[in-house]
Assembly symmetry: C2
Homo-oligomer: 242 residues x 2
DNA sequence: CAAGTGTTTTTGTATGACAAATAAAAATAG
DNA sequence: CTATTTTTATTTGTCATACAAAAACACTTG
């Protein structure tokens, strides 16, 4: 019985899914591994088989497992995992060290976001531009670091929205995790956000002008700035959030 | 009772999840809509509540639904949907028309893949390069169109692998769907694949030389070629697959 | 009118019983 | 002795039933 593992919050099958999911992402059950069967999980966590099955259905839906009669549930190869799923990404994040998480999210953002702002510059509606401007304003008004991160997430989500491509939306989760993990690197109480806001403004200005090229380079600068923060303020004198 | 809807293949809860998932993606249940409760689903499809619940857990895991006691299951806003999930993407694909699916996947590829090949050029291991070369060979040897598509999918997956960024892996599903949807546009029995293979070779050559810039532009040409196919061979004289 | 209280609806959880699938072992045929 | 078929055992799949817990809503009461 692993009562300790039963995390606070939520119902049994969700907690179970989370616990098993975390253990898979942490590498305790490698791809190809045969998991304990349903009855055994029930014994291990002291829950009913119903709850176990529902948890397993959740994990199967996220591409982590594959169940077959007489076999059991096997961990799927990593390239089947829905890493851009909210939960899976969170489990992944807490399974690896902060620096390599930051490194791979930044690498991903560097691929995606310049393309996103180009699309946004070309295809944004007037309304989407307004939302973008409003997000900018929210960033300016933010008083605490969590507020700023929230506003920043809102900004990048508005960007994603403005790109008008549904297939790109799943990236919002990645950006959200990237930005809130960035929180780890901003130990100062009152970070200077002037520069970050300016960089964001540059992006919006270019999008307003429907200038894709300028928008792209502005976004690259913004990501460079974030990299600088992660690198530990070695290349910049003031800490910013982006 | 909607016995007709019970698609062939698979177990009850999977079929149910697929059916409900398709209906959501088709827009029958808009975001924010309250679905029938579990008992009702059971009556509608003539299955047990257990099966309904497992199906709902699957859909919830994919970000399509949110269930709460006394409320029921509500369809989540679109930006919560895991569109890059294998099943969801498939449902999405069959819910919209071919041309707009092709358009948005190509748009997405145009953002992602140039970045991917740059990473691959910089970070690929010797072994990953070998796999890439082998995929190329498989494309050359392919006799039927399905074989070619399979080999092509293998190639682009190898590319993704060579980029060495786990967060990019979920894109494999998108590329896979994009390429196999391309199948719709290749009505000819024996498409000329010479040009396509050459374009793929250019990419591999640049990656072998660790030349990121050349790799990027080679990939862009490759995607241009695919666009030409979709456009209906207006700008090219020979049909190719890519 | 406000605050708390109860009612009712829906999901959440547990248990028990079989069905179906299938890998592995055993029996059988060639 | 090998190949094929049959049996068996294990695990997931499915169903039915019962009760618990959460929470919106109506209602009562101060």
């Amino acid at each position: 019985m692993v009562k300790q593992r039963e995390k606070r919050g939520g119902n049994v099958h969700d907690r179970l899914a989370r616990s098993i999911g975390e253990r898979i992402l942490a590498g305790e059950f490698a791809p190809g591994t045969l998991l304990p069967n349903e009855a055994e999980w029930g014994r291990i966590y002291d829950v009913s088989r119903t709850a176990v099955r529902e948890a397993i259905k959740t994990l199967t839906g996220k591409g982590l497992l594959l169940s077959r009669p007489k076999i059991g549930s096997r961990v799927e190869p990593r390239d089947r995992w829905s890493l851009l799923d909210r939960d899976v990404l969170l489990w992944h994040r807490s399974a690896i060290d902060r620096r390599s998480f930051a490194a791979s999210t930044q690498e991903a953002r560097r691929i995606i976001e310049p393309g996103i702002v180009e699309l946004a510059a070309k295809k944004r509606s007037a309304e989407q531009l307004e939302i973008l401007v409003a997000s900018l304003e929210a960033m300016r008004k933010a008083k605490s670091v969590p507020d700023l991160v929230a506003a920043d997430v809102g900004f990048h989500n508005a960007l994603l929205q403005a790109a008008n491509n549904a297939l790109m939306m799943p990236f919002g989760i990645l950006i959200e995790q990237a930005l809130s993990s960035l929180f780890d690197y901003t130990t100062q109480r009152n970070p200077k956000i002037g520069i970050a806001v300016k960089l964001h403004e540059d992006v919006v200005r270019a999008i307003a002008a429907q200038d894709a090229k300028t928008a792209r380079s502005a976004m690259i600068k913004l990501i460079d700035d974030t990299d600088a923060i992660i690198a530990g303020t070695k290349s910049r004198s003031k800490w910013t959030i982006c």
